[in-house]
Symmetry: C2
C-alpha cells in the first residue's frame, strides 16, 4: 500500500475515527498536525494543496487526497470485515454513517467544540441561539441509538463495523458536550464493548 | 428482487435522489406519500413502524426498512456502474456524498424548505438567526463544487455516479432557496449533463 498521511487536529473525533479504523486494521499512518484554533486549515497553502473546504481530516494516500472522515474510514477498511458485505447490511451500515454526519455530529460534536474548545462565552449570538436546538437534537440522536442498541450489540450486522467506529468517536466523549450518558445505558454498554475491541486505541493516544 | 416501496414526500430532494437512482437503473419502486407539512412522519404509527427518526425517505425492501437517502441510493445501485469500483474512486464518491449531507443539504435544502415550503415569516427566531450563516455556507458549497467541476465532468470517476445524483437533487433547485446559479457556470453545465442522462426523470415527474 502507498504511504498514508493523516492531516489532522488530534482532539477532533472525526480525525480519531480514522486513527481508530487504522489501528483496528493494523495499518500505519503518519500524522500531520494542524492547529484549527489558530486557523491552520484556512491558510492559502492548506486550501490550495490539502483541502479547498478548509477542513480536517484529510487522508493522503500517496499524492491523492481524500477529505471527509467517513470516506477516509471507508478507504482504509475496503475489503476488510469492518465493511459488511451483505447488500442490505452494507447499505444499513452506511445509513448509520450518514445519520452520524447529519443527526449526530452537527449537534454533539459542535456542542463539544463550542463548550470544551471555544468556550460558551466566546460564541456568536447566532451560535448561542442554536444551543438549545442542538441539545435537543443531540438527545434525540442518543435516544435513537439507545433504542437500537437495546436490541442488538452493534449498529449493523453481528460484529463491529465502520458504523460503530464512526458513531463511537463523538459519542464516547459526549460528556464533554454536556450530555450525561447515564441516561442511555445501552449506549454505555456499547461504548464499553467498542473500547474492549482488540487493537483499540484511545482518542488521546 | 423483493418488491420495494419508497416512503416519501415527493418534493423532497432526498426522496427524489432515490427515484432518480431507480429510474437510471430501470428499477420499479412503489411510492407511498406522507405530508410532512401536516406531521404525517411524526405519528406514533410512522415512528413505530417506518422510522423512529421521524423522517422520510425510507426505502422498504420486502419487510426491511432503510432510512437515509444516500444509503437507499447505495442499496439500489449495489453492483451497478453507478457505484465506482476502484478503491480510491469509490471512497472519493462517498466523500462527495458525505459532503452533500454535511455541507450542502443542511444549508441549501434547509433554506429551500424554509423559503419555498414554510415561508420566511413563519420561521422561529432561532431559524431566522441561522439564515445568513446558511446562505454563506451554501454559497461556499456551490463554489467548491464549481471549482471541482471546472476541471472535470463528473464528481468522481469518468461517468455519472451516485455522487452526481446525490448532489444534483438539491443543487438543480437551488434557485428555490434563493441561490442564483448563474454565478456557478461549471455547476450549470454539469446540471445540464445530468438532466441529459438516458433514463433521467425530473423531480416533479
Amino acid at each position: 500500500m502507498e504511504p498514508m498521511i493523516l492531516h489532522e487536529y488530534a482532539p477532533s473525533g472525526n480525525c480519531y475515527k480514522i486513527r481508530l479504523t487504522a489501528a483496528l486494521l493494523g495499518l500505519p499512518l503518519d500524522r500531520r498536525h494542524y492547529d484549527i484554533m489558530h486557523g491552520e486549515t484556512r491558510t492559502p497553502a492548506f486550501l490550495d494543496h490539502i483541502n479547498p473546504n478548509g477542513r480536517i481530516p484529510v487522508l493522503q494516500i500517496g499524492d491523492r487526497l481524500l477529505p471527509e472522515s467517513n470516506a477516509a474510514c471507508w478507504y482504509l477498511a475496503s475489503g476488510t470485515p469492518l465493511i459488511l458485505q451483505d447488500r442490505f447490511e452494507q447499505a444499513d451500515m452506511l445509513r448509520w454513517m450518514f445519520f452520524e454526519q447529519y443527526n449526530h455530529e452537527p449537534n454533539i460534536a459542535t456542542l463539544r467544540f463550542w463548550k470544551a474548545f471555544i468556550g460558551e462565552e466566546q460564541l456568536t449570538s447566532s451560535q448561542t441561539a442554536q444551543i438549545a436546538g442542538k441539545r435537543l437534537a443531540g438527545e434525540a440522536a442518543l435516544t435513537l441509538m439507545d433504542d437500537h442498541l437495546a436490541q442488538r450489540r452493534y449498529f449493523s450486522g453481528e460484529a463491529i463495523s465502520l458504523a460503530d467506529i464512526c458513531l463511537y468517536a463523538y459519542t464516547h466523549v459526549a460528556d464533554e458536550a454536556g450530555f450525561d450518558l447515564s441516561r442511555w445505558p445501552a449506549v454505555q454498554r456499547w461504548i464499553a464493548a467498542i473500547a474492549a475491541t482488540p487493537g483499540y486505541v484511545a482518542l488521546d493516544a
